[in-house]
C-alpha cells in the first residue's frame, strides 16, 4: 500500500481511507485532508529552523577558524534546544509607552512573511502547497509583509534607536526589492511562466544558472540584502545600533524574529535552488517524488551554504554604500540583462539548444562586462575622493599606501 | 475552487457594486471630514480601491474575454501610486518646512 517511492501520495490516500473508515462524512474528510498540508507545511518549515541554526553556527565558526558550539551534547547538537529553552523562559517585556497591539503583531507578521513563501515552493513534481500561476509575484508580495513587520517593530518600541534601525532596514529592503524582482524576470522569461513548478520543469534542458549566470549572481546579492545577512546586516548590526529594530524585544517575540531570519535565508536558498539550480530535477526524481524532495533539499542547502560563506567572509557594508550599490549598479545591470535576455531568447527561438544556451551566455557576459566597467569607474571615483580628502585633511593616517585598498572599508573606518 | 454545480448560487454582480459603493462613500467621508492631510490621502486610497473593485467586478461578470477591464485596473494602480507618491512628498516637505499638515490651516499658497 505504501510505496517507498511515492511516499506522500500513498500516505495521503491511506489517511483518507482510515478517516473514512472511522465513519466521518466524505466532505469533512476532504476538507480536513485539504487543510492538513496547510498546517503541516509551516510546521515543517519552522522545525527545519532547528537543525539549520546549529548547522549555520558550526559552518560560520569553521569559516572563522573556531569550533562553534560544542558543549551541549555531542558536537553541540542540542545547543539550539538550550537556546530555545532560554528564549521561552525569558520575561516577555512590553516597553512602557509602546503600542501594545502593534508591538505584539510585528513578530507574527515577520514569521508570516517567511512561512507564506513555503506555500509555493516546489518540493517535488507533485509535492507543493499550491501551484499559483503568479508564483513569483506571490513570493515578492509575501516578502513585503516582512518589511512591514520591521517598520512596525521599530515604531512600536517607543525607542528612537529602534526607529532609526527600522528606517534603515526598510530603506535597505525596499531598495533591494527592485533588482530582485528584475532578476526574477529572467527565469520567468526563460520558462515562459511565473509559476514556480513550471520554472523548475523548464530547466530540464539546462539549469538556468548555466543559461543566465549573471541573473543568478544578482539574485544572490539581492537575496542576501533582502534577508539582512552580512555583508548587508545593518538590519541588526549587533555592534552598531545595539541590535537595530528589535532592541526592545525579548523572550518569545524575539525568538520569532530570530527564527524568521534564519528561515528566511534558508527559504531564499530554496528559491535560488528552484529558480536557478533546477529545483527537484535530478535522476529518478519524476518516478520517485521522495528523491525530488531530497534533491531540492540538497540544492537549497548548497545555496544556503554560499550565503553562510559570504556571511563569514565579508565585513559589513555601510548603509549608503549598500543603497548606492543597488540603485547605481544592480538595478541598471538587471534592467539591461532582462532587456538583452528577452532579445536573445526571442532571436534564438527555433535554434538547437546548444546555440540557444551559448547566445544567452554571451548576452550575460556582455552585460557583465559593462557592469564591471561601471563598477571600476565607481570605485576609481571613490578612491580619488578618498585620496583628495586625505590630502586635504592632512591627518596622520598611517595606511597611506594601503589606502588604495577597498575604498569602502577604509572610508567605513574613517567616516 | 470546487467546481460549481448548476444550482449553486453565485454572488450576484450587484453585491460587488454595493460593496464598492459603500467603500467609495467611506473614502469620501474620510476625504471630506478629516483634517490631517495624510488622513485625507488614506480616504483617497479607499476610493481608488473601491473603483478598482468595481472595474474588476464588471470585467469578470460582463466581459471576461476582453482584457480592457484588467488593463484599466493596471493603469489605475499606476496612477494611484504616482499620486500617492507626489502627495506624500508634498506633505513631507510641508512638514519639513515647519508648516502645519492640517488641511484647514495649510491654505496659503505662498510661504
Amino acid at each position: 500500500m505504501i510505496q517507498p517511492g511515492d511516499l506522500i501520495a500513498s500516505l495521503g490516500s491511506w489517511l483518507r481511507g482510515f478517516l473514512l473508515s472511522l465513519g466521518l462524512a466524505p466532505g469533512l474528510v476532504s476538507v480536513g485532508l485539504g487543510l492538513l498540508p496547510a498546517i503541516l507545511l509551516p510546521l515543517i518549515g519552522l522545525m527545519m529552523a532547528i537543525p539549520l541554526i546549529w548547522l549555520e553556527r558550526k559552518w560560520v565558526a569553521r569559516l572563522q577558524d573556531r569550533i562553534g558550539p560544542n558543549r551541549v551534547g555531542p558536537f553541540g547538537i542540542f545547543q539550539v534546544f538550550a537556546d530555545m529553552v532560554k528564549i521561552f523562559t525569558k520575561e516577555d517585556l512590553i516597553p512602557q509607552g509602546a503600542d501594545k497591539i502593534i508591538f505584539s503583531l510585528a513578530p507574527v507578521l515577520a514569521i508570516a512573511g517567511v512561512v507564506g513563501i513555503w506555500a509555493v515552493l516546489p518540493f517535488a513534481a507533485d509535492v507543493y502547497g499550491v501551484n499559483l500561476d503568479v508564483g513569483v509575484l506571490y513570493v515578492i508580495a509575501v516578502g513585503t509583509f516582512g518589511t512591514l513587520a520591521i517598520l512596525l517593530a521599530g515604531w512600536s518600541s517607543n525607542n528612537k534607536y529602534a526607529l532609526l534601525g527600522a528606517y534603515r532596514a526598510v530603506a535597505q529592503l525596499i531598495t533591494y526589492e527592485v533588482p530582485m524582482v528584475l532578476t526574477l524576470l529572467v527565469p520567468v522569461l526563460l520558462a515562459g511562466s511565473m509559476g514556480l513548478n513550471d520554472i523548475v520543469r523548464a530547466q530540464d534542458s539546462g539549469w538556468f544558472v548555466l543559461l543566465a549566470p549573471l541573473a543568478a549572481i544578482i539574485f544572490m546579492i539581492a537575496a542576501q540584502a533582502e534577508v539582512g545577512r552580512a555583508p548587508f546586516d545593518l538590519l541588526e548590526a549587533e555592534s552598531e545600533l545595539v541590535a537595530g529594530f528589535n532592541i526592545e524585544y525579548s523572550g518569545m517575540k524575539f525568538g520569532f524574529f530570530y527564527v524568521a531570519e534564519f528561515l528566511h535565508s534558508f527559504t531564499f536558498g530554496a528559491l535560488g535552488a528552484a529558480f536557478f539550480l533546477g529545483g527537484w530535477l535530478g535522476p529518478g526524481s519524476e518516478r520517485f517524488p521522495i528523491l525530488g524532495v531530497l534533491y531540492f533539499l540538497i540544492k537549497s542547502l548548497a545555496v544556503y551554504f554560499v550565503f553562510v560563506w559570504t556571511r563569514g567572509t565579508f565585513p559589513r557594508v555601510r548603509i549608503d554604500q549598500m543603497i548606492n550599490l543597488s540603485w547605481k549598479l544592480l538595478t541598471p545591470t538587471a534592467l539591461g540583462l532582462v532587456a538583452l535576455m528577452a532579445v536573445a531568447e526571442r532571436a534564438t527561438q527555433g535554434t538547437p539548444p546548444l546555440v540557444h544556451a551559448l547566445v544567452l551566455l554571451a548576452a550575460n557576459l556582455f552585460v557583465l562586462f559593462f557592469a564591471l566597467l561601471v563598477m571600476r569607474s565607481m570605485s576609481r571615483a571613490a578612491r580619488e575622493r578618498l585620496a583628495s580628502r586625505q590630502a586635504g585633511s592632512g591627518s596622520g593616517m598611517v595606511a597611506v599606501g594601503g589606502s588604495r585598498a577597498p575604498a569602502g572599508a577604509a572610508s567605513a573606518l574613517r567616516d | 475552487m470546487l467546481a460549481s454545480r448548476g444550482e449553486e448560487k453565485m454572488v450576484p454582480l450587484s453585491w460587488y457594486l454595493v460593496f464598492s459603493a459603500a467603500l467609495f462613500s467611506l473614502g469620501l467621508f474620510g476625504v471630506l471630514a478629516r483634517r490631517n492631510a495624510v488622513a485625507i490621502l488614506l480616504g483617497i486610497e479607499l476610493m481608488v480601491n473601491a473603483v478598482n473593485v468595481n472595474l474588476v467586478a464588471f470585467w469578470r461578470y460582463l466581459a471576461p474575454t476582453r482584457m480592457g477591464g484588467q488593463v484599466f485596473v493596471v493603469v489605475v494602480f499606476a496612477v494611484a501610486a504616482a499620486e500617492a507618491a507626489v502627495g506624500l512628498a508634498l506633505i513631507i516637505s510641508f512638514a519639513r518646512l515647519g508648516r502645519s499638515v492640517d488641511a484647514d490651516q495649510a491654505d496659503l499658497l505662498h510661504g
Binding site: - | 490621502l41 482584457m67 510641508f94
Partner: protein
C-alpha cells in the same frame, strides 16, 4: 447561502469595517494599519473574481509600497500633526450625510443596472495572464495607455524626489 456567497460576505464585512476604522480612528498610524487590512480584503476580492494577477499586484503595490510610504509619511510628520486639534473638521456631520446620500444613490443605480442580478459569465479557456500581457503591449490593444502610465510614473518619481529631497549638499 452558498459557500461563495458566505465567503464574499465575510470578506466584504472585513473590508467595510476596516474602511470605517480608517476614517474614524484618532491615531493616524492605526488608521494606516486598518487601511492595510482594507487593501488586503480588496486583494482577496480580486482573487475571488478570478483576477489572481491583480490580487498579487495589489498586495505588492499597495501594501508593499504605498502603505509603507504612508506609514513613513505619518512617522515623519508626527511633530506637526501633534499640534493640530481634533481629527475631524467642523463640518463632519454634513460630510456624513452627503456620503450616505452618495452611497444610497450609487447602490440604487447599481441594483437597477441590467444584468446586475446575474451570475458571472464564462471565463475564457485560455490563459488570462498571457492575454493580459499581450493586451498591455500589443499595438492594436493597449500599449499606448501602458506607455503613458510608465511616463507618468517616471514623472512622479522625479517630481517626488525633487519635492521631498534635501537641498543638494555640497559633497
Amino acid at each position: 447561502m452558498s459557500l461563495a456567497q458566505v465567503l464574499f460576505l465575510i470578506v466584504a464585512a472585513v473590508g467595510l469595517l476596516s474602511g470605517l476604522m480608517v476614517v474614524t480612528v484618532r491615531n493616524l498610524l492605526h488608521a494606516a494599519l486598518w487601511l492595510i487590512v482594507a487593501l488586503f480584503s480588496v486583494a482577496v476580492l480580486f482573487a475571488m473574481l478570478n483576477a489572481g494577477f491583480l490580487a498579487v499586484v495589489q498586495v505588492v503595490v499597495y501594501i508593499g509600497a504605498i502603505a509603507i510610504l504612508i506609514i513613513f509619511a505619518i512617522m515623519l510628520t508626527r511633530r506637526e500633526a501633534l499640534r493640530a486639534g481634533a481629527q475631524e473638521n467642523r463640518l463632519w456631520p454634513v460630510a456624513g450625510v452627503l456620503c450616505a446620500l452618495v452611497f444610497l444613490g450609487l447602490a440604487w443605480s447599481a441594483s437597477r443596472l441590467p444584468g446586475a442580478q446575474s451570475g458571472p459569465a464564462q471565463l475564457p479557456g485560455s490563459d488570462a495572464l498571457v492575454a493580459l500581457g499581450t493586451a498591455l503591449v500589443s499595438p492594436d490593444q493597449y500599449v499606448v495607455p501602458f506607455e503613458v502610465a510608465s511616463v507618468l510614473l517616471l514623472a512622479a518619481l522625479i517630481g517626488s524626489v525633487v519635492i521631498a529631497g534635501d537641498r543638494l549638499r555640497s559633497r
